[in-house]
């Protein structure tokens, strides 16, 4: 069944993704803004402060009690980088009305609650209250500082920072501690206004039905806002190939070293264009049939994990591994050797076919997860056609070995990042 995008307002779209298999209904608001050094931290703080309190629920504890009463409705906020854009996402999910003990419209109440949180925050005289602001700032700062705890995640974040030093994509997704510290109640109020006025917005419902009058109400709320300079989510810039790859080493008091490699790819862009890159990355370092798993882990016994992933809208491939310091060079050499094998088309038919099957099998499972299906469509914002996961699965099935080899040819090493124990010498 083809999905239909509703144009609710200038740059505001509504989408109903009908799916009757779930016991819950999910409503999601997706705000897209350009990534920018000056706004990244304040933008990222918004989804969190907006989902912590509102005019009607000025106390976060009362809001949490309300959610519990709505049979444990789940309110969720994230701020992620999506190519050269920032995606601020707020969702609520609630069990369907038929499960309520009283004759209560849970879905309608939950959808109204989230709408109020976004449009009627707890502010006064053009500023957020300092109590709320300081609480959310503290949590954001602790979150940013806490990124060093999980070394695998930290190492990848450092790789991206190094690869895109002079580009917006290199910005940390929640800004820096200094950026967060500089936010005031008044400046955040303006950030909020700016989001409502200029973000490209996609509002989605995943479930059996749309709550009565829902999209009309969203449309009305936006009609009261002066929509201007709406973010035009065009394609992100491609990762530049560089002649001499960089090597960056950080030292920390850790037991195991982390090795991260970043590559640029000639092929890039949205789903349907860059699909061969997805297959190529998977053959290189996806499932257990991949070159990296079979060789670096199983044959050479160098690591527990060694895997590749791609960000297609940036033309970026990353490889991550955890290795002993003395094996770092050996692992790096072998990773690059495996890439050469893929480039020369010397991967086996088994590896190629396994990859295609694994990707299509997983795409065909998407509709069984409410969150996955919401995210799938939420990031389809400038595509001419709204491809379903099954549509893409069919396209993947048609990809040939030559498509994969062609995609691999444009892949070049860009940066090697190592997080090594302090005492080690290389």
């Amino acid at each position: 069944m083809a999905l239909e995008i509703l144009k609710l307002n200038r740059g505001v779209e509504g989408l109903f993704i009908k799916n009757s298999r779930f016991n819950t209904t999910l409503i999601s608001y997706n705000f897209y803004l350009p990534l920018n050094k000056d706004t990244v931290a304040a933008n990222a703080l918004l989804p969190f402060i907006l989902t912590s309190c509102s005019k009607k629920y000025p106390d976060f504890s009362r809001l949490n009690l309300k959610l519990a009463k709505l049979y444990g409705a789940r309110l969720n906020a994230t701020a992620e980088k999506y190519g050269d854009y920032q995606l601020l996402k707020m969702t609520i999910s609630v069990i369907n009305d038929k499960f309520s003990f009283e004759d209560e419209s849970l879905v309608k109440n939950a959808s109204k609650l989230l709408l109020d949180l976004i449009f009627e925050p707890n502010t006064e005289n053009g500023a957020f209250f300092s109590e709320d602001l300081e609480r959310e700032k503290r949590k954001a700062i602790e979150h940013i500082k806490g990124e060093i705890s999980e070394k695998r995640v930290f190492a990848k974040k450092r790789l991206i920072e190094e690869m895109y030093k002079d580009e917006v994509y290199g910005l940390p997704k929640c800004g820096t501690v200094e950026d967060v510290e500089a936010i005031t109640g008044g400046s955040l109020y303006n950030t909020w206004k700016n989001m409502l006025e200029t973000a490209f917005v996609r509002v989605q419902v995943v479930g059996k039905t749309v709550p009565e009058g829902f999209f009309e109400e969203v449309s009305e709320r936006f009609a009261n806002i002066k929509r201007k300079n709406v973010t035009n989510c065009t394609e992100s810039t491609k990762t530049n190939a560089i002649k001499n790859p960089n090597t960056v080493v950080d030292r920390m008091d850790v037991a195991q070293g982390k090795l991260c490699l970043g590559f640029s790819s000639e092929l890039y862009g949205n789903d349907s264009v860059a699909l061969p890159l997805m297959v190529m990355t998977d053959i290189f370092g996806g499932g257990p049939y991949s070159r990296l798993f079979a060789n670096v882990r199983e044959k050479m016994s160098l690591c527990y994990y060694c895997s590749a992933s791609s960000i297609r809208q940036k033309g970026l491939i990353t490889v991550e591994s955890g290795v002993e310091t003395e094996n770092c060079e050996k692992a790096q050499k072998e990773i690059l050797n495996q890439l050469q094998i893929v480039k020369k088309g010397k991967f086996t038919d088994f590896e190629f076919e396994s990859s295609i099957k694994s990707i299509t099998d997983s795409l065909n499972s998407y509709n069984d997860s409410q969150n996955s299906i919401d995210l799938w469509y939420a990031i389809k914002i400038n595509n001419k056609k709204l491809y379903s996961p099954e549509d893409i699965a069919k396209k993947v099935a048609k990809i040939t070995r030559d498509d994969v080899i062609a995609a691999a040819k444009g892949v070049k090493l860009h940066t090697v990042y190592k997080l090594l124990p302090k005492e080690a010498s290389n």
Binding site: S20, R21, N23, T24, F60, S61, N64, L65, L67, A68, K69, L70, Y71, G72, A73, I95, F99, R135, R138, K139, E142, H143, K145, G146, E147, I148, S149, E150, K151, R152, M252, D253, V254, A255, Q256, G287, P288, Y289, R297, E298, S301, L302, C303, Y304, Y305, G322, E324, F350, S354, K357, S358, T360, D361, S362, N364, S365, N367, D368, S369, Q370
Partner: protein, 420 residues
């Protein structure tokens, strides 16, 4: 084969079957779904370090259940990953304190995948060379966990809480302990614990239960049930020490604050577990007065959570998170329990939390993986998948208050990871 059917008021239904050799099978059909999830498990985890079968007592190196999990993927005719790669299924396995499970999920060719699962779990193949290779890989897995503060803070707490119970040892063992593993020991463990009478299969999703049952009955190799005696050293009631700390590369301290509980001979019932889960929510859930206080004082952030950690011979209530002052958090938690004992539980909070847990129990049926995992709990504890929804309707404030009264707030461990 003995078959039982269960259904509940929200329209979910499943079948439980027991084969003559003792294998238990649980299947919940979700015809409107595209995918399915299947899991083949054994009641064998890191805590089963000493056991007795047919009068012979065996003590094995720490981490061997997990090691066996890695090795079972290899069979004489190639490894299981290669076979799953041919169908496109996602395959994996995990080892916990009390179980080892092998699983796959797929949206196509389910019955082929089920055959692969049945076959590889029943075809052990270990050689000296393959054991050696795995020591390198698992060695790196252990080293990875050495750097994980979230993992360390938990195990440091367990070591400070338990004198003798093997729940205090790391699931993967140590680089030294796994060096002692050889293929003969692996076979000993396999033959003891991978007997169908100690095993279960749980399936949820787009499958036909009868077809699955027939296929499983055909695919299970003949075997005789045997009795396994798990030998657990005596565990004193008191903790080893109230405080433990370690320094790692973290930005601010991480903590795990645990209340060691008395363990009876008879395991906790589903109802008792729900009451404890409710109690945790009442003490420190995000709608509780304590949570509000801790957030407002700047003592916790969104990482804060609580859990009831329990199994064969162990039970603890755990509060964990990040804090600039873990000792202050621990003190506040103790004070709040004292206050609740004195002043009683707020009725409104109780009914909101009951509604919330009811909603979560319904939400669980959204996802085939969650269902299969819940069926695993049923297999491990001999309970019904629908007990939770049933009890959530009937549990009263008095039930929870009674439990609160017997809560010992002194038998505790605070484990802290400090920044370097």
């Amino acid at each position: 084969m003995k078959k039982e059917f269960f259904e509940n008021e929200i329209g979910e239904a499943y079948v439980k079957a027991t084969l003559d050799n003792g294998l238990k099978i649980f299947i919940l059909e979700k015809p409107q779904y595209k995918s399915a999830y299947a899991l083949f498990g054994t009641k064998y985890g890191s805590i089963d370090t000493i056991f007795n079968v047919n009068g012979k007592e065996t003590a094995v190196p720490e981490g061997i259940a997990h090691f066996l999990e890695h090795k079972l993927f290899e069979s004489e005719d190639g490894d299981a990953f290669t076979k799953f790669a041919k169908t496109g299924a996602y395959a994996n396995a995990f080892t916990s304190f009390d179980k080892t499970c092998y699983l796959f999920s797929c949206s196509d060719r389910f019955y082929e995948n089920l055959d692969i699962l049945l076959s590889f779990v029943q075809s052990p193949y270990f050689t000296e060379a393959t054991v050696k290779k795995e020591q390198g890989i698992i060695g790196q897995e252990i080293r990875m966990y050495d750097d994980s503060p979230a993992w360390r803070v938990m195990f440091n707490m367990l070591m400070a809480m338990y004198h003798n119970h093997p729940v205090r040892i790391d699931i993967a063992g140590t680089v030294e302990s796994i060096a002692k593993i050889d293929y003969k020991l692996l076979f000993d463990c396999y033959n003891t614990f991978y007997n169908p009478s100690n095993m279960f299969i749980c399936i949820a999703g787009n499958v036909d239960a009868d077809t699955c049952l027939e296929q499983i009955e055909r695919g299970i190799k003949p075997s005789k049930p045997h009795e396994i005696m798990r030998i657990k050293p005596k565990e004193p009631y008191e903790v080893v020490t109230n405080y433990t700390e370690q320094s790692l590369e973290v930005a601010q301290p991480m903590f795990c604050f645990g209340f060691k509980q008395e363990v009876d001979e008879t395991p906790l019932t589903v109802k008792e577990k729900i009451i404890i889960a409710m109690l945790l929510n009442i003490i420190s859930g995000d709608a509780s007065p304590l949570y509000k206080e801790l957030i407002n004082k700047g003592l916790i952030n969104d990482e804060f959570e609580s859990e009831h950690f329990c199994g064969d011979g162990y039970s603890a209530l755990i509060f964990e998170g990040e804090s600039s002052d873990p000792k202050a958090v621990a003190k506040e938690i103790k004070n709040e329990i004292g206050r609740l004992k004195r002043d009683g539980i707020d009725k409104k909070l109780f009914s909101a939390i009951r509604a919330s847990m009811y909603g979560s129990a319904i939400r669980m049926f959204n996802n085939v993986e969650s269902i299969a995992m819940s069926l695993t709990d049923c297999a491990m504890n001999d309970t019904s998948l629908f007990d939770e929804l049933k009890y959530l309707r009937s549990i009263t404030l008095e039930d929870v208050s009674r439990k609160l009264k017997c809560f010992d707030t002194e038998n505790t461990v605070l484990s802290v990871i400090n920044p370097k």
